[in-house]
């Protein structure tokens, strides 16, 4: 495996015109914002826990083939945003639809890649069993179509380059290997929407690159929309079309060039923030809560 050579952030330049009312004067040529099926639609969405409003008046349409990143520090509602799309958390106001359906009902069209947590070494699953659960783990009864499922599993494992350890216990695989399996598992139903929850966290650079490429591959090949929740945009900066940046109750939506700017983030945080660009990477300094957390406490299960 070679380390990726970083290229400057690509701005996707398909023929569409700027459509969202982005106020920035130098709005970059826009991607497929206007064309294609709406995969995620939020209208006047608000999410609050008691008095604490995470975000309100969120209007957002994510279309097929779009790579959408959700950024922000801990506690700004990134994971809650994902939970809303998964149908695990209701909005306090407004509406949300995923592939035209109520979020929970759309789960077969949604692939979910969780944060790498590490399985206990004695977890009674082989790599292929983990992937197989993505295919038919939700169906009642016992597995009867073994051969068909096995063939599909092999196909998926090949796709993510995990064929070598198909029969290894998942608990003994490295974090990077486990995340490859997670991608394979999420792709099992050929989803229209791929939700990634800090999917690169705690991976080494090499595997960050590999996993990030695999996610993008699915978008390119099948036109899936990608919603990638992360606190660090750099590993995916080459692919991202738009960003939802959450900070302390307010948010900003736009292309990386529109959002990742000193004045925009300073306004968002109400503090002096500096955004530096170096060699294609974006570094945000002065963020009040700039913490890189190793294991998030915001898992889906309490």
């Amino acid at each position: 495996m070679t380390l990726p050579t970083k290229v400057a952030p690509t701005i996707h330049t398909s023929a569409a015109q700027p459509a969202t009312p982005s106020t920035t004067p130098w709005s970059a040529p826009d991607n497929q914002r206007d064309s294609g099926q709406a995969v995620v639609e939020l209208k006047n969405a608000e999410l609050a826990f008691g008095d604490r409003v995470l975000w309100r008046d969120l209007n957002l349409t994510i279309r097929e083939g779009e790579y959408f990143a959700v950024l922000g520090s801990n506690g700004t509602g990134k994971t809650s945003f994902l939970k809303v799309l998964l149908g695990l958390l209701p909005l306090t106001r407004g509406t949300v639809s995923v592939t035209g359906e109520r979020p929970g009902a759309a789960s077969r069209h949604v692939g979910y890649v969780p944060q790498q947590r590490g399985f206990s070494p004695r977890t009674p699953l082989r790599a292929r069993d983990l992937v197989a659960q993505g295919i038919d783990g939700h169906k009642w009864g016992i597995r009867l179509r073994r051969r068909a499922v096995n063939e599909r599993v092999d196909e998926l494992l090949d796709k993510v380059g995990a064929g070598d350890y198909a029969n290894a216990p998942v608990g003994l695989l490295s974090g990077g290997e486990q995340q490859r399996l997670r991608i394979a598992q999420a792709l099992a139903t050929d989803p229209e929407l791929l939700l990634c929850d800090e999917a690169l966290l705690s991976l080494d650079l090499n595997h960050q690159y590999i996993v990030s490429e695999l996610v993008n591959q699915q978008r390119v090949d099948s036109g899936s929309a990608v919603v990638f929740v992360t606190h660090d945009i750099n590993p995916i900066i080459d692919h991202v079309d738009r960003i939802l940046y959450l900070a302390g109750g307010s948010f900003k939506i736009g292309t990386p060039d529109e959002v990742m700017r000193s004045e925009v983030l300073s306004e968002l945080y109400g503090a002096d923030i500096e955004v530096l660009r170096s060699n294609g990477r974006i570094i945000v300094t002065g963020r009040p809560d700039n913490t890189h957390h190793i294991s998030s406490q915001e898992g889906l299960i309490p």
Partner: protein, 324 residues
């Protein structure tokens, strides 16, 4: 029974008795069938108990099952119903208190002595045959009435059918709850349903092997199976085979003597576990284990070893083990 000098011959004679074995076998065929049923149920349920890391909960449920049975004995009611009520109630309480093992462990620790204490209270108030008392804790001397057998058949059908119907979602939710929930599975409901099935299985086991030794049937066979393989289907088959060997084997050995059935069952099941553990130890030394048979992956995996410091259940994970 124990004189100043230990009489080994008489001990061996009372542990292994095979007089009139053929006749006994016919007389006590009910017990054999009950044991076979229990082996099946224990082997199946045990795999999920292991997946969900519920060993401790099983012990807690068993104590409350014991309290329920003792209460039934005291008021002259049906012991099976009593133990069922006690264990299903305990299972439900534990299920609602904590979805994950970590949350419920301390709660089980609180519940368990309370159940045991209650049971002892009821037993000491009870003035009937004392052998009944003892059998609830340590298992009975083989005698299963036709009525008891019928109730066990019905309960077994309920448990096995429930597990078969919920098989894939339950496996998914047990091994990978975060993704299972994201996939739209009713993780919490599945957990409660499993606790009910577990409660029923524990109540069945308490009648035969006794409250203190339920783990030998619900944990040990599955744990032994997991020593040998991580392939889910093979685990289930092996677990059932081991449980049957322990149960039926234990009954066959216990038939002639006056000793309760449980020491035989627990010894066989422990012996099986020991053998599998040794096999696992040898295998893990072999380099092919981690790769599932294929050659070792060259790129370094020491880099994120620190992340494995804690497993999903909060169990400390030996890093050396992870790295194979």
């Amino acid at each position: 029974m124990i004189p100043t000098q230990v009489d080994w011959d008489s001990i061996v004679d009372s542990v292994f008795v095979f007089d009139n074995y053929g006749e006994l076998l016919v007389l006590l065929s009910n017990s054999l069938w009950a044991g076979a049923l229990l082996g099946l149920v224990g082997g199946l349920v045990g795999t999920f108990v292991m997946m969900r890391d519920l060993a401790f909960s099983v012990h807690g449920i068993a104590e409350l099952s014991f309290a329920g049975a003792a209460a039934a004995l005291l008021i002259g009611s049906d012991i099976v119903t009593g133990s069922l009520l006690g264990s299903v109630l305990a299972a439900l309480i534990i299920g609602f208190m904590g979805l994950r093992a970590r949350d419920s462990n301390s709660f089980v620790g609180v519940l368990m002595p309370f159940g045991l204490g209650l049971g002892i209270l009821f037993l000491s108030l009870y003035e009937g045959r004392s052998s009944n008392k003892f059998s609830l804790l340590t298992g009975q001397i083989v005698s299963v009435s036709p009525v008891q057998l019928t109730s066990m058949i019905v309960l077994s059908i309920v448990v096995v059918a429930g597990l078969l119907i919920a098989w894939r979602p339950l496996t998914f939710a047990s091994t990978d709850p975060v993704v299972a929930e994201a996939r739209g599975l009713p993780v919490r409901t599945l957990s409660i349903v499993f606790m009910v099935l577990l409660g029923i299985s524990v109540a069945m086991s308490v009648q035969i092997v006794g409250a203190l030794l339920v783990l030998a049937l619900l944990i040990t066979p599955a744990a032994a199976a997991m020593n040998l393989t991580v392939a889910p289907a093979r685990i289930v088959v092996l677990s059932v085979v081991f449980a049957e060997l322990s149960m039926v084997g234990g009954i066959l050995l216990a038939l002639g003597g006056s000793i309760p059935i449980s020491p035989y069952v627990t010894s066989i099941s422990f012996a099986i576990w020991l053998v599998t553990r040794v096999i696992r130890g040898f295998r893990e030394r072999g380099s092919s284990y981690r790769r599932g048979g294929s050659e070792k992956d060259p790129h370094g995996r020491g880099q994120d070893a620190h992340l494995h410091g804690q497993g999903p259940q909060g169990l400390p994970v030996p890093v050396s083990n992870v790295r194979g």
